[in-house]
Symmetry: C2
Subunit: 239 residues, 2 copies
């Protein structure tokens, strides 16, 4: 059976303006590969209601899971929860469960639970909260959308709360061989090998080191025996 | 007049599987901001013909420019040029100008100009070549699509060849203020300031340092005088 599919939506002007280097995509890609969910597409959009809604609708209709990062904090540019509600046709308000979590958190910290902080309790009706052990303000799952924070350590913590609840497939395995030859030299036989194994995905990634061309050849797949067999042929070919 | 808009399409299984951390998005975002082209969306798709074609069609219809990275090397998984031709309804073959560049390059290097290397001369009819001072194999511009390599130093070199030929608008300027307060504390007045300056974009980016919450407040815009005015108010508010 094919693995479940996923997309990611990264939300934030700071990524598109080049202020911030996104790292959540790399984090999510590695984790999903490990648990056997195929990340098939990523989109990055600005803090723009219409752009977020359009992307959410397109991705949630096309993939089993959609993971978002960014835009769930207390400031005016945090508009993800409202966009999710709009995209899914859900109502949204200050949810009692999230209000209780946040009220207790700010009480412990001796900080006022003001309007801005209460904004982080705006969660669409029907959503299930995602635990945030770092700073309490929760993420949430609404149908196949998993909405998480953009701050990398909070994104990682929410992902750790969420992933054990999802059903993955066969983990995507990979093996690689480093050869001291340029891509143009290995492309012919490597392409023939790829054609012989349609169930595996083979990629070549060139590098230049001390003025010499080399290539990392990578074979990916979910069938360990088939992967080993192809890898053995690859090693005989170029090893 | 509004600045030209752009999207980026990153092509490659290695990004979506978590093997490689993309850096071309960050490079492009910074360069476009500098020359006044607004990067509005980024997509990442696998080495999959249908997925690449669909993304190219959607993005080229919606934005002034589309920049792609990845999939233009000599191996079987390099399928970007054919996908571009398909998406734009152009024919594709081994172009004489690209063949001449590559033949001279491999002749100098004393390497055979084999089928795989000739594959890098497959360029759609009507495209203009983008110079590659690193490894010769050219990128190309077809209508509003700018097709470049995925290897970061080659992507950067192609971008340096291409950008002086594009007409930008007013550079996106930004100023930031670091405050030693959490987002929840500054959100109210910061949001009011943002509402007073609809021509500027204001964002807040929280951080935790030595156990204390702080926030970087960023104001972006193309009007330097307006930006300075808002920044002065921000500094009075929180400085």
């Amino acid at each position: 059976m094919a693995n479940p599919t996923a997309a990611m939506l990264v939300i934030g002007d700071e990524i598109l303006s080049g202020r911030t280097r996104d790292s959540n995509m790399y984090t999510l890609a590695g984790e999903l590969t490990r648990i056997g969910i195929t990340l098939a597409e990523v989109r990055v959009v600005a803090d723009d209601h219409a752009a977020i809604v359009a992307a959410l609708r397109a991705l949630s209709a096309s993939f089993d899971h959609v993971f978002t990062s960014g835009g769930i904090g207390p400031t005016h540019d945090d508009i993800t929860a409202d966009a999710v509600a709009d995209a899914m046709g859900a109502s949204i308000g200050h949810r009692a469960d999230a209000m209780a979590l946040l009220a207790a958190h700010y009480d412990r910290a001796g900080l006022p639970f003001n309007d801005a902080r209460q904004r982080m309790a705006r969660i669409p009706e029907g959503a299930v909260l995602i635990d945030n052990p770092v700073s309490t303000a929760p993420g949430f799952t609404l149908r196949n959308l998993h909405v998480m924070a953009g701050v990398p350590n909070i994104f990682q913590a929410m992902l750790a709360s969420l992933l054990p609840k999802l059903t993955g497939g066969a983990p995507l395995l990979s093996q690689s061989l480093r050869v001291n030859r340029g891509e143009g030299e290995i492309a012919g036989p490597f392409g023939d090998l790829a054609a012989d194994y349609p169930a595996l995905s083979m990629g070549s990634y060139p590098f230049l080191q001390n003025g010499a061309h080399g290539t990392n050849l990578v074979i990916r797949g979910t069938d360990a025996a088939l992967l080993n067999e192809a890898m053995l042929k690859l090693t005989r070919m170029f090893g």
